[in-house]
Symmetry: C2
Subunit: 249 residues, 2 copies
C-alpha cells in the first residue's frame, strides 16, 4: 500500500514545539514535496524560517486558526501552489494550555472560552476550509488524512486518576471534544476516502509538555509520522498513541 503521507501537507502551529518537530521530520520523507507550515506570527518564527531556507519544500505562511479570513487566505495560497492537485494531509496541531484561569475552582470565563475556540472550534473551521482540497485526489488506496493532535488528557475514562492534578481542566475537556469531532468527521468523510484520527503524541519535552516529560519532541514526532504512514481507511475515527495503539476514550 502506498504511504498515505504525501506529497502535500498542511500543519498549524508549526513554529515551535511538536509542530516544528513535525516539519523537521516531514522534510526527511522522500515523497513529501510541499509542507505548508502555518503559524500566527511568521516574523517571529526564527527556527521555522531557518529550516525553510534550507528546504524549499517548506512554505511558511501566516494563519491564526481563530481568524476565518486568515484561514480563507491560507486556503487560497495553498490552492495556487497545488494547481490541479489536492492536499493529502492536514495536521490540526495548534492548541493552547494556560497555566492559570482554567482550574475548575474560580475559572475565568474568557480563558475557558479561549480554549474552546482555539482547541475545539478552530480545528472544525480549518478542516472544513480544506475539505474540498482533501477530497480532491483521495482514494481508498491512498486516502487523505486529517490528523487531530489530541492528548492522553483527553481520555474521559482515565480522567478520574489523571485529572485535577493538572489544574487546567479546559485542555482535557477540549481534547475529549476533539476526539468526538474526529469520530464525526471520520464517519462522514470515510465515503470520500478521508481518514480522520486523533493522536496522543506522547508526553514530550516542549513548552507545553514541560522539561519533566520523559521523551524528546523529536522522538515523539518521528513515532507519530511512522504511525501515520501505516494508516488506511479502516483506521478512521481512532484515538491512538504515537505507536498506533488504541487509547481509551
Amino acid at each position: 500500500m502506498p504511504n498515505p503521507l504525501g506529497p502535500s501537507i498542511f500543519i498549524t502551529g508549526a513554529n515551535r514545539g511538536l509542530g516544528l518537530a513535525f516539519v523537521k521530520e516531514l522534510v526527511k520523507q522522500e515523497q513529501v514535496t510541499l509542507i505548508f507550515a502555518a503559524c500566527r506570527n511568521p516574523d517571529q518564527a526564527d527556527a521555522l524560517n531557518a529550516l525553510a531556507k534550507k528546504h524549499p519544500a517548506i512554505q511558511v505562511l501566516k494563519m491564526d486558526v481563530s481568524n476565518d479570513s486568515e484561514i480563507a487566505g491560507a486556503v487560497k495560497l495553498v490552492k495556487d501552489k497545488l494547481g490541479d492537485r489536492g492536499l493529502y494531509v492536514l495536521f490540526n496541531n495548534a492548541a493552547i494550555l494556560t497555566e492559570t484561569g482554567a482550574e475548575y475552582i474560580k475559572p475565568d470565563r474568557k480563558i475557558l472560552e479561549q480554549h474552546m475556540s482555539i482547541n475545539l472550534v478552530s480545528p472544525i473551521m480549518v478542516t472544513d476550509a480544506f475539505l474540498s482540497l482533501l477530497r480532491k485526489e483521495s482514494s481508498a488506496d491512498k486516502p487523505s488524512l486529517v490528523v487531530n493532535i489530541s492528548s492522553d488528557n483527553g481520555s474521559i475514562q482515565d480522567a478520574m486518576t489523571m485529572g485535577t492534578a493538572w489544574g487546567n481542566i479546559a485542555y482535557g475537556i477540549t481534547k475529549a471534544g476533539l476526539n468526538m469531532y474526529t469520530r464525526y468527521l471520520g464517519s462522514g468523510e470515510k465515503y470520500n476516502n478521508i481518514v480522520a484520527v486523533s493522536v496522543h503524541p506522547g508526553w514530550l519535552r516542549t513548552d507545553m509538555g514541560t522539561p519533566d516529560a520523559p521523551d524528546s519532541v523529536e522522538h515523539g514526532a518521528e513515532a507519530v509520522i511512522e504511525t501515520l504512514s501505516k494508516l488506511s481507511i479502516k483506521d478512521n475515527g481512532r484515538y491512538i498513541n504515537n505507536r498506533g495503539r488504541d487509547m481509551r476514550f
Copy 2:
C-alpha cells in the same frame, strides 16, 4: 441511607422541556422544600410561573447561564433564602442545540462557539459559583449532588454509528466535554462529599427531542429523579442513563 435529593435544589433552564418536568417531579418529593427554578426570561415562563403559584416551594428566578453577573445575583438570592443552610442539588440542565450552523460541513464559528459557551463553559462557571453552598452541609452519608444533564449523543465510543445523522455536531461534542468536566469535578470534590454525575435523560418528546422521541418528558424526569435519589459518594464521576445504568464514554 437518606435520600440525597433535598431539601434545596437549584435548576437551570427550568422554564420548559426537561427542566420544567424536573420541577414538576421535584415538587412531589416530600423532603424537597426549596426549588430554585432559573430561566433566562421569567416574564415569558408561563407554565413555570403557573406551577410556582400553586407550589410556594418553587422560586422562579432570572439567570442566563452565560451571564456571570446574573449568576452572581442568583447566588446572592439563594444565599439569602437559605440563611445558614447549604444547597443540596445543582442541576446543570440549560443547553442549546440549533438546527443549522453546527454541521461539520460549512459550520458557522459563532454558532459553534455559542454551543461551547452555553453547554460547556457555563456549567463550569455556574457550578463554581454555587460550590461553597454545595459544600456547606454535605457529608459522606448525605452528599451534595451536581447533576450535569448530558445525552447519549455525548458518547464518543458510539459516535461513529449515531453521529452525523443529527447534523449538529456541536451538541455531541459539548456533551462529551461535559462528561469530562463531570469527571474532573467529581475527582476533585469527592473529598468534600460532593457527587458529580452526567445523566442521559433518555430520548424524550421535548422541543429538543422532537415529537419522534419514544418516551414522554414526564417519564424521563421521573426516572432520573428516582435514579438520583439512590446515588452515593461511590457514584462520583459516572455517566449514567435515567435508570442508573452506565453509558459508554
